[in-house]
Amino acid sequence: MQEYLGILLLIVMAGGLGALILTLTSIIGPKRTNPAKELPFETGNLPTPGGTLQRFPVHFYLVAILFVVFDVEIAFLYPWAVIFKKLGVFGLIEMLVFVAILALGLVFVIKRGVLEWK
């Protein structure tokens, strides 16, 4: 457990620094406000009418689920990379088969136009 102490320290320091800066600005900083300034900032455009609770097109979901699939692939790649040398050529073939099967899916996704945004 000892080796995680540093991480804990980092979390505490990072969080503390953020909190500190925010508190300081709200105390020290000058407050000059007008209605335009209070609007949510959306890259210079007028804010989305009706708030942020908009329905998203289903296309986002499609991309998100594909992201999950390839994220899981990464999760398999990581332990493989750690012991890559120990596994040798056999491990390479194993991973090639795995990636090739998923590449089938990737080609399918690209060719089917899932990643094109109309």
Partner: protein, 500 residues
Amino acid sequence: MFFNLSDLFAIAPEICLLVLAAVVLKTELFFTRKPTALQGITMAGLLVTMGVTVMTASEFPTGAFNGMIAADGFTLFLKVVLLGVALLTTLMSREYFDDAAFRHGEYYALLLLTTIGMMTLAAATDLVTLFLGVETMSVGLYVLAGLRHDRPRSSEASLKYLLLGAFASGFLLYGMALLYGSTGGKTNFAEIAAAISRFGDETPKVLLAGVGLILIGLLFKVAAFPFHFWSPDVYQGSPTPVTAFMSAGPKAAAIAATIRLMGWALPDLAAVWGPLLWVVAALTMTVGNIIAISQKDIKRMLAYSSISHAGYLLLAVLAAGDQSIRDLAASGMLFYLAAYYLMNLGAFAVAILVNRARDNGDYHLDDYQGMAAQKPMYALAMTVFMISLAGIPPTAGFFGKLFVFSAAIKAGYVWLVAIAVLNSVVSAFYYLRIVVLMYMKPQTSPAGSMRSPATAVLIGFCAVAIVVLGLIPGGIRNLANSGGSSVAIPPPTVAEVSTK
């Protein structure tokens, strides 16, 4: 050594199917979207795979891939049956999905990947492969159930199946975790059995809870009472070829996995799960049959009928708890599954044709009125399927029941078999009602064309096969026997072999 090249023989069918799925998918993407071409490729590929399966059949005394999967007669028989299910489903699919926007290649690819999942499940001798098989099969089925974008019922079926199926998978996984934890980190069936027998009479409660949860997960997949509620809705809403596929393939794979898990991993706990399964089996067949009587929709009726058949099949699982009967029970089950998929797929194919002729979207039983006068051959085939489903000789369904019931009697489940026989009598009522409708009632509405060559071929094949199996069951019976005897005794574990 953790890998031998010869292990690849054990998964040759799966490799073939994967390549085939890739070919179908890429053909559609890069070459042609012609449904006939895609169907042709799929069917040819499936036939080749069947050939490869039979030719590469080799006995692996300790299973393949470090005891992850079995390569024995039992698995071989199931793989051929599952390939048959996929082949017949493919045959009836092209004419059903006549929407021009429908992507046949993706459909066949999903069907093939689902079949890989079912094969893995049927061959699994390790909790990890068991779970992966269940999931690969289920993911495909969730999507297949929702393919009819134009029908809300189809989406409903898909969503219902997904939500309940995910829940069942959760139970399965939780149970496996408890089993893994309480046996000291074992996942291989035979190793689990060894670990459990070391406990003697003091079986930890966690282990029992784990077994219970695993049973819930598996019983959901075979649609046994009280985990059957999803099946009528899903069967009704899914595209009919998918329903046919679903009622035959996954059920066969899941029941095979159950028989192997119970027989190989948990034989010492038969006193615990035996009575439980006894009650489940009795209720499954009774509830399925009684509700089936009141159904007005043929897909729902066949859904309830398939629930009751799951109950009969659980008899084989129960009988297999007794090691001296296990070969008989397993071979009876194999024969039953071979007969069941023929009659069920055939019945669904007739349902597709009748529905096409009516073209009103539903599958009402009244559509069968007076069918014999207009379409005598189809009516005759449907009669064969119904008689076989009811278990009346001379059909394959009769021998399937006979073999399973006689194994169960040998194992001492006389009362349960009595319940099963009574149930068969009840089921004859609603199966034969369709025959009565076809032959004895006048036609009510004019029937449209039922021309559909591929589906007609399928119906003919199934009907003839059922009658042939019913008249001379010997050949398949022998194959089933050798398959059954191969699961009688679990193979030595990898650890045992390496210490020798």
